[in-house]
């Protein structure tokens, strides 16, 4: 898509988005609610007509085609299963509308229902199924048409945690099996990180960053992305040299790549990359700061500390392992990190 834009009256919901999604890719559009990701998806589906820009699927311009003329199917957020039809009729709907011969419909429906492991449920109504089963019907109903692109609008949001995690794995392996391009909209960063080949992060109608989960997590382009994908501490400062940042408390730290000299930047430091030592015991050749433990939050597999420095508060996360020392509120500590543990983003 090129410069794809959607305006609702005066509000620009999606602002000039440029994006290429490869054939067979599992792509996640990630962003907070209201960022335009669902609108983007609906434009691909044909449920919204773009205000400007171009949208091509396999080289064919589809920007203004109605949804029934596009080789695209959608799994809707609340599944949107037809309540007056059985599971089999729901799955067969798309094929019947395309006037596929009856015998083919039957075999393809059976195949799709088998694919999502719902054999034996064919004659049930959607209301007689659990949330997870309805989700599978919605998947089968879309996949049975063998679309070139499958769009998924927060399909797991309505499921409970355990089921959601199970479906994440299933979706991922299903996508490998069928080889169809999946475009997946979610506001759950963990979901995006665990499933997608590539992620596009959106904020306020703008596509901020596109990359692999590792890229986006390790080298976010700005504070919004860094904070939305996982958590991060931002240490404000100014670039002094190619790989030297002067933090606003006066301490100088080396980084991999800082940017143009004189720029105001923030050093993004992930909580799990903050190392803690007894006061004064940090390695001398590493960036070091000193502070006091302000609060301790026990999360089971990890422990989160808020450490008050004299100019800001830093969040640190340690694993809950016997070999990692626990700290108490009020304890003075030195924190440090490796030069390559941080990313520099615009301040």
């Amino acid at each position: 898509m090129r410069a794809l834009t959607k305006r609702f009256d005066d509000v620009v919901a999606v602002d000039a988005v440029d994006l290429d999604i490869a054939d067979g890719e599992f792509f996640a559009l990630l962003g907070p609610s209201g960022c335009g990701k669902t609108t983007t998806l609906r434009m691909i589906a044909g449920l919204e007509i773009p205000s400007a820009g171009s949208l091509k699927i396999f080289g064919d311009e589809v920007g203004t085609l109605p949804p029934n003329k596009r080789p695209v199917n959608t799994v809707f957020q609340n599944y949107a299963l037809f309540p007056h039809m059985s599971v089999a009729d729901n799955v067969a709907f798309g094929l019947k509308m395309q006037k596929v011969p009856k015998a083919d419909v039957a075999s393809r429906v059976a195949e799709a229902i088998g694919l999502v492991r719902l054999g034996g449920m064919e004659q049930r109504r959607p209301s007689q199924l659990s949330g997870g089963q309805q989700q599978r019907v919605a998947l089968a109903r879309a996949l049975v048409n063998r679309p070139k692109v499958l769009l998924l609008d927060e399909p797991l949001a309505a499921l409970d945690l355990k089921l959601r995690q199970g479906m994440q794995m299933e979706l991922k392996s299903l996508q490998r099996e069928v080889g169809i391009t999946f475009v997946f909209v979610t506001h759950d960063q963990e979901e995006a990180l665990s499933m997608a080949d590539r992620i596009g992060v959106m904020g306020d109608g703008v596509l901020l960053q596109v990359g692999t989960p590792e890229d986006i997590y390790d080298s976010p382009v700005n504070q919004f992305v860094a904070d939305f994908i996982g958590r991060s501490n931002f240490l404000p400062g100014t670039v002094e040299a190619e790989n030297l940042v002067c933090l606003s408390n006066g301490s100088r730290i080396t980084v991999g790549h800082a940017g143009a000299v004189g720029d105001a930047v923030a050093v993004s430091l992930r909580p799990e990359r903050v190392r803690m030592e007894n006061l004064g015991e940090a390695p001398e050749d590493r960036p070091t700061l000193e502070g006091v433990v302000q609060s301790v939050t026990f999360l089971g597999n990890s422990i989160v500390y808020q450490i008050a420095l004299d100019w800001l508060t830093i969040e640190a996360r340690t694993e809950n392992r016997p070999s990692v020392d626990r700290r108490d509120v009020g304890e003075s500590v030195s924190i440090w990190w490796r030069d390559d543990a941080v990313a520099v983003v615009p301040g």
Binding site: P67, A80, H84, M97
Partner: protein
Amino acid sequence: MSIDSLDQAAIDESVRLGEDVERQVAKQDRRRGFLLALPAYFYMVLFFVIPLLIVFVYSFATRESSGGTALSGWNLDSYQKLWDEISGRGTFYDVLVRSGMMALITTVICLLVGYPFAYFAATRTPTVRNLMLVAVMIPFWTNFLVRNYAWRLLLSAGGPISSFTEAIGLGETDLLFTRYAVVLGLTYSFLPFMILPLYASIERIDWRLVEASRDLYSTGWKSLTKVVFPLSLPGIIAGSILVFVPSLGAYVTPEILGGGTETYLGSYIVKQFLTARNWPAGASVSFILMVVMLSATVVYFRSGGKNL
């Protein structure tokens, strides 16, 4: 007794206790609900059930030669006579068929006119919706009789409609006292009863289902017939009953706009009571009409309930 079985007994006991409490709460809820419904029950019994029983009782009474009704010598004569009329293709048979046809035509026209209106209204912004619904209800602000007489003026030879058809070169029309006038009047009278339930059921439809059908290669027309129609079926059924039932027994409109040239069920019953002074006959027709309508309604709602 082992510790395990003791525990099991304790668990059973607490489960029983819990169930008891639940039962009591449910019972209290039911009692409260009954008290709240009591005024409505009272009203219905006094003004609906009791009169109905009186009609029922009268249908078995004997007509005296003086025109009075003797509440003795209970018999099935009036029902027998009706059956003879139906099987012998008598007057009552004609009346029944004529009224049934009129009610059916009225229902179909109301559905054809009402559905697009209800669909349009249900898909507008809330302000426009409310304005359209108010427009549907405005006629109720005027007396039913007055509105029927107004139609008489409109339809009569030399009236506005006739003048209009003359002006555009179709010649004079005299619709008054024809079957067309009766259907027109019935449609006009009962259209709101079709529109309102239709509107309610269309408005409730989840439009994401329509989007889903469009996404699944359905054309706009197919989405309407395969998704919107089936999902608004309860409204179609309710609206059809609400139009068909009063049309079948209508009295005022066929009298005023039909001019009494043909007898419909409503007029037939009135004639039995007032002109022929045969109360048992009138009562039996009324009662049969009611039983047929009630059972049709029950059957409709049962099957409608199963479809959704």
